[in-house]
Assembly symmetry: C2
Homo-oligomer: 399 residues x 2
């Protein structure tokens, strides 16, 4: 399912660093899925039946009725003032933020990409969690970077391992998803966050903190972003997005940073695409100003919690002895480790024949992959479908 | 107005190649303009009063009423099938195109950027027209490329100069805007297109053909894109966009290519931002399927032609002896060359005080700039405002 692209014809010669860029196995699997009756645990795809369709229709209608000429026109690269205001206000719940500290992005994926473009020269090192979000790996690889994984446990990245990796590799920055991590679903408790921040502050290494899932908490105590710990805000680019809590189709995300790096990111965004869609920026701003996002999130969290429970219970009932699963307190993903030298990628064709899809874990490792792992999303399907999908998974693996 | 960004604090260290990236002087000037009563000839900003607001409102309403869950969901990186169909059909007027030869982009700026990411290693050469579109310069610089200008005359790039530059510099590709070029407004006639294509075919050097303005023709005979000349389609990435003929705020553009390069561009787009806004893709597709874009373009062309005439006549009446202006047959820009060692950038503060803005020509040159040039857009303002703006320009320059 996964491939590098090495050959092009008609005189086109790919950039050397592109040879290190692989296609996204998630996107490759999603392309297969459009074929038919496969139950997908593969993508981190929100359940579309939970979208606030009427609110979004009203928001777009408001924008095109009252701000139409503006919504269809060119605009500032930084973002629409109304959206910057709304985002700053929401971020300020955890970390005081002014609108000028916000840059609108086309999803937080673009935020990841922009930071890579601005900071990375070929050969530069980025430290990442082992395992980590694979499209971040893709974005940093396009900038020519070398990714070095840092060991993790159930509470996230290990502070001592992080300090050792910084001393050895002199990274340009560290990329972390501290809350409901992709792919594992794990979160760093408050104490671990403080210990990691202490390492970063002592060494002066910047942090790219990716937080798309933090508001999807089912239980447990909310942990503040690392960016909000004393001294960390200036040293961190914090990424966030409408995709997981509102709707991914509008492609609206944002980043929070301080000082000169903001200007560099804005210039990089000019080069990438001038500005994010103005229509969608104004619609999201209107939605945030007039709708109750907290109530929507509470509704979504209730549904996702039930699905997490169903998937966790179902897996506990079928997984063979020796397998581990994570039990995330929120977010979208469960992570399964089968062990025993198994390669889940080799079993995927059988699983697709049985009518169920997952993401083989291998792709989430920058190196030294544990191929016996897989990522399962519990948010896309209702409980009955989850149960049926797990039965198919069991048949595919012979459990 | 223009600046490089060299310093960042808080531990962030910019990538080396970022030191070659400058801010966009157009965007910097636009930021100044939001201050007040300045008549702007600076940006290539369509007249928002010509947007088909009711049609776009209806398109978004249709999409959110009938395709809402899809419009707000993740989608394929390549683009929505309805939009790929519409674009392929429209491109096929000049060059037979199937939907699978189309990739949706977030404006044609993203198309330029993606091609740079996929093909350019640091130090690679791109040949460009002298002068050329400055945000393309920015995008290629972010990929670490070295830009080499090729001499032009009133009919575009000189075939012999192009052949000599290819032999000397072994470029990864050539970037051209053959029709109503930015910044000069010039177009390549059919004979020149054939001669340029002959050079590219003989040398096997790929072409990035940027064609955002081609449909805004006021007079003269339409020249087909270079991509449509015999043998050229496989060797060309052709860029096009909704921005100049429909509305830039939706940020929808597209590229046409053939073969393996398409897959590489799609993977690069995954890394940059997964997909373009699905809402806007479906709305533009619905607009194209249900509205008469040709009739809209005819209306816009009528208005822009009158404004081009007003600006050309006004300039002819005030420019000093020895100054040259182009007389474009379409598009958005006039190009003025004052000569005599003048630097139009030095006069810009005075012009802004007088209440008129333009883009100093210097930024459009990859090297060996003629600083006595300036770019003037005639599309944003009605005739009366153009006349008043030219009077202010005359005072600022002491004509």
């Amino acid at each position: 399912m996964r491939g590098t692209i090495t050959r092009v014809s008609n005189g086109f010669q790919l950039a050397t660093r592109f040879s290190g860029v692989t296609t996204s196995p998630v996107r490759d699997i999603l392309a297969v899925l459009s074929r038919g009756d496969v139950i997908s645990f593969a993508g981190g795809i929100p359940d579309a039946s939970l979208f606030e369709l009427a609110d979004f229709r009203a928001a777009f209608d408001h924008v095109l009725t009252h701000q139409g000429a503006r919504a269809l026109q060119y605009a500032a690269t930084k973002g629409e003032p109304e959206l910057l205001e709304q985002v700053a206000s929401r971020l300020s719940r955890a970390l005081p933020t002014t609108p000028d500290q916000v840059q609108v992005t086309s999803g937080s994926q673009e935020g990841i990409f922009l930071v890579g473009q601005v900071l990375l020269d070929p050969g530069d090192v980025v430290l990442v969690e082992q395992p980590t979000y694979l499209a971040a790996v893709q974005a940093f690889a396009l900038a020519g970077a070398s990714l070095v994984p840092v060991a993790t446990d159930d509470h996230g990245v290990l502070p001592e391992a992080l300090a050792a990796a910084i001393a050895q590799h002199h990274p340009k920055f560290v990329y972390l998803i501290p809350t409901f991590q992709n792919p594992t679903g794990r979160s760093m408790p408050a104490g671990r966050r403080e210990a990691v921040a202490e390492v970063l502050l002592r060494t002066g290494v910047p942090l790219l903190e990716d937080d798309p899932y933090g508001e999807l908490r089912f239980e447990g105590e909310a942990a503040p972003p690392l960016a909000s710990l004393p001294g960390m805000s200036g040293q961190t680019v914090l990424l966030n997005s409408a995709s997981k809590v509102m709707a991914p189709g509008v492609r609206i995300g944002w980043l929070r940073a301080e000082g000169d790096i903001l200007r560099a990111l804005e210039v990089a965004k000019q080069a990438v695409g001038l500005q994010s869609a103005v229509t969608d920026q104004l619609a999201v701003a209107h939605y945030l100003a007039t709708c109750d996002l907290d109530a929507h999130i509470a509704r979504v969290v209730g549904v996702y919690r039930e699905r997490r429970d169903a998937m966790a219970a179902g897996l506990a009932g079928i997984l063979p002895a020796g397998a581990d699963i994570t039990r995330p307190e929120g977010g979208m993903f469960l992570w399964v480790r089968l062990g025993g030298g198994l390669d889940t990628a080799l079993r995927l064709p059988t699983a697709l024949e049985e009518g169920v899809a997952y993401v083989p874990g291998r792709a989430f490792f920058a190196r030294d992959a544990d191929a016996s792992t897989m990522r399962l999303s519990y948010v896309t399907n209702p409980v009955g479908t989850i149960t049926e999908g797990l039965a198919r998974l069991g048949r595919a693996f012979g459990w």
